[in-house]
Symmetry: C2
């Protein structure tokens, strides 16, 4: 049977193989993704982000267990995107705990991505991986990533619903969240609510939110959860579902899907154009232009101008 | 007098105007940068990064004051790159404190960049701004940015010496620093050393560093500083100078300059190629391709394939 067919019919080994092909940017992976593309668009894509130490992995695990314990449970995929190098081992440790908590349930599929992959960095690869999981029938896809900065902007582009996590005792909660994450959050979560200071962290976040622009259609809720003891997890799952319904009603889902495709096309286009341009250059022209900039003969912009003059 | 000439001879108003032109990606800005390009390459570019709340701005201010109080003080420029939206106002607050501490000294020039600019996002614009400051004769250029993630990778690409800041009481110091920042740091700084826990944070960082790959040429030092009371600032300035000398001796400076130019050329090339491609498309072809992906007729990769077939 063809790989696409095997993925479609729930063969988990075939799915794992497809994800590896996508990560390696192999033609077979692209062919298969292309065959499966018509099956995408059914999953709810949920981004989970926040500073290191806020308990993202633990929360994702708890939420997954909660979803799977429901009547008629959804299929849940977890994509853990970790731009961390193997240096400090955070990803590996998180994965071990995750496997202990979640393994053995065929309705859960977990994929960790710690490598930048060949195609447009982590963002490009993640997109294909999530599409494949969507086509394979996972109804909830949780995309977890660390940090502030580009990774978070990327996750906002990849998800329908974005959860941003904070935790008490991480210094000033508002400070740690300041780098543009309040804007991308659909649901704010103060995790580790069993620790002291959770309520005041939630109040500080509420105050910060009230300073921002008001979206009359969706008031970003602030939930308290404890991945440790499970407090607030059912409420979080319900709130995500509410946001899903809200997006469907308001056309926000189509809007986000459209923006995601625009972003991905842009990435692929840049990659393709750059590859073609370099292949078409006479031997070493581009490298020589770089050397001339390094030697301060030309500014970078003028060097590019010259490359396009012939 | 021409703008380039005015910048070269120390006219601060002309410099401010050039930076605005660069931020707006105006042709005059590019022409002027090009004329000034031969004068670049003299500054030492120092990146300062770390999680929100570690006191980056305060440390940069203190360090600048220390440098300016030396005999034969260097000209110092500060570029504060803040990917934060105006939402929480962190950038604005930091700027006010900065102006209070540093204004009135003609040997200091401060530029805040909170907008993504036209050209390849913040990274593209920062590069031109720093080049202009370099050409204008600033010997120390401190490039300050918040957060983990892409901003930090960018700063590592833009700087000769990268300072990564931590602070005690920010949760687990190693955790907050885990997302790839240990690898990019040339000097680790535990700021707010007047607070309890600074010594143990430094020990934890030392332990984390020892887990990593050993660079026999440069052992990343860990310094304790207090931007509040000035402790450790002279030692930090001295250590940066030591790193400068080290880079010059080992060829590391040329290596970093080369990598920086390669990165910038790549960004400009992508931008130029994408602009040209879109301009050359028949009306709406690219947009139609996007719609076909949204409608699940084609995978993104196949849509790009089709655009390149004609």
């Amino acid at each position: 049977m063809k790989l696409a067919e095997r993925v479609r019919t729930g063969d988990r080994l075939a799915l794992a193989r497809l994800l590896t092909l996508i990560e390696n940017n192999s033609p077979e992976g692209q062919d298969t993704l292309s065959e499966l593309h018509a099956l995408t668009g059914r999953a709810h894509r949920i981004g989970v982000t926040g500073a290191p130490g806020t308990g993202k992995s633990a929360l994702v695990n708890r939420l997954t267990q909660h979803l799977r314990a429901q009547d008629d449970p959804p299929f849940v995929a977890i994509v853990a995107v970790d731009p961390t190098s193997p240096f400090t081992g955070g990803a590996i440790l998180g994965d071990r705990i995750r496997m202990r908590d979640l393994s053995g349930d065929p309705g859960i599929f977990i994929r960790s991505m710690a490598n930048r992959g060949a195609l447009g960095g982590l963002a490009g690869t993640t997109s294909g991986v999530v599409d494949a999981l969507d086509a394979a029938g996972f109804q909830w896809i949780l995309i977890e990533t660390v940090g502030t900065g580009q990774a978070e902007v990327d996750i906002a582009g990849a998800a329908h619903t974005v959860l941003v996590l904070g935790a008490p005792g991480m210094g000033d909660a508002v400070q740690t969240l300041k780098a543009g994450v309040l804007e991308i959050s659909d649901i704010l979560v103060v995790n580790k609510s069993d620790l002291p200071g959770a309520e005041s962290a939630a109040r500080a976040l509420r105050a910060a939110l009230e300073l921002g622009p008001v979206d009359s259609e969706w008031m970003t809720p602030i939930l308290l959860t404890s991945a440790d003891n499970g407090d607030g997890i059912p409420e979080l799952a319900a709130k995500i579902s509410t946001h899903m319904e809200h997006l469907k009603k308001t056309g926000g889902r189509e809007e986000r899907d459209h923006a995601r495709v625009v972003g991905e096309m842009e990435r692929l286009l840049q990659q393709r154009l750059t590859d073609r341009f370099k292949a078409a250059q006479s031997d070493g022209d581009y490298e020589r232009a770089i050397e001339r900039v390094v030697d301060r003969e030309l500014s970078p912009m003028r060097a590019i101008d010259e490359l396009f003059q012939d």
